[in-house]
Amino acid sequence: MKIPFDKLDKAFENRLRLQIMSVLVANSRYDFNSLKELLGVTDGNLASHLKGLEKEEYILVNKSFLGRKPNTNYEATAKGKKAFADHLDALEQLIKSSKS
């Protein structure tokens, strides 16, 4: 029985990255502080994984100012959404193949 591990996206190996991506797929956009609060992670940890996803071109970053406070918004790109869906499909395949 060959299990299609190779179809899993390397960019989503880290759990936090997959979690970030699921939030950005479910919402048109999300800001840094809300993400941090929702996922319960530290600034640095979140920032480094967001950078990683940005490098893969899975997410877009929008920096703006709310009054004087910097406000950073993230949204998923078409490429990122497709990668996320493919990754979920691969996970589903894994479950199916291990059941049979």
Binding site: L18, Q19, A26, E37, E92, L94
Partner: protein, 207 residues
């Protein structure tokens, strides 16, 4: 990667997608209490009108009531509104704390915004029309705009809110067709429907 691990992963994704886009700490119990307040308020309004010998079942939309009665009616309605909102905030905050969520989050802000738009527009319209003497508009308009507010806010919380909103909307339209029975429709819409939906939500999500 083991199967249970993958199941875990998928469950956490589903949970996050829901938690990030919906405010799920809305308290069902507060819905029940709001319904009870509304019924008590309706009973007070009923006795106020009865005491002043107003027959509000004859289909006349222009009541002749003393201004002191109107003031007591508005006071009653305001008391019901304020008590309901306070109860909703306190109980939802408690539930959010228990679930480890924040009550002032992106989703709760969004929920409030989409609810506030129809409510404020409708509230202002009702005030304007009442000032011009159209008392008959109060019951249907408040029910209809409250229904619209719930439907528009339902994208950010439990699905049950959408059906509650649609019921309020339909009730409002029926009451517009039957002027003079406004108080009864109010008691049904804000009292009984809230108690029913509050109970359903309480049994489904609160425990």
């Amino acid at each position: 990667m083991k199967e249970t691990e993958i199941q875990d992963e998928l469950a956490s994704i589903r949970n996050l997608m829901e938690r990030s886009s919906k405010f799920i700490s809305l308290s069902g119990l507060s819905g029940i209490l709001a319904g009870v307040y509304a019924l008590i308020g309706a009973a007070i309004a009923f006795s106020l009108l009865n005491y002043n010998q107003v027959s509000f079942t004859q289909g006349d939309t222009h009541f002749v009531v003393s201004s002191s009665t109107v003031l007591s009616l508005i006071g009653t309605a305001m008391a019901v509104l304020i008590l309901s909102v306070l109860t909703g905030i306190i109980l939802s905050a408690r539930k959010a704390k228990r679930k480890g969520q924040s009550i002032w989050s992106k989703t709760s802000r969004e929920l409030l915004f989409y609810m506030a738009v129809p409510l404020i527009a409708g509230g202002l319209l009702v005030i304007i029309l009442v000032l011009r003497g159209y008392y008959g508009i109060v019951a249907p308009a408040t029910l209809i705009f409250y229904g619209l507010a719930l439907v528009s806010a339902s994208h950010f919380t439990f699905n049950g809110i959408k059906s509650l909103g649609l019921c309020e909307l339909i009730l409002g339209l029926i009451s517009a067709y039957l002027p003079g029975y406004g108080l009864y429709f109010w008691a049904i819409g804000f009292g009984i429907l809230h108690i029913i939906y509050g109970s359903v939500m309480y049994l489904k999500y609160d425990r």
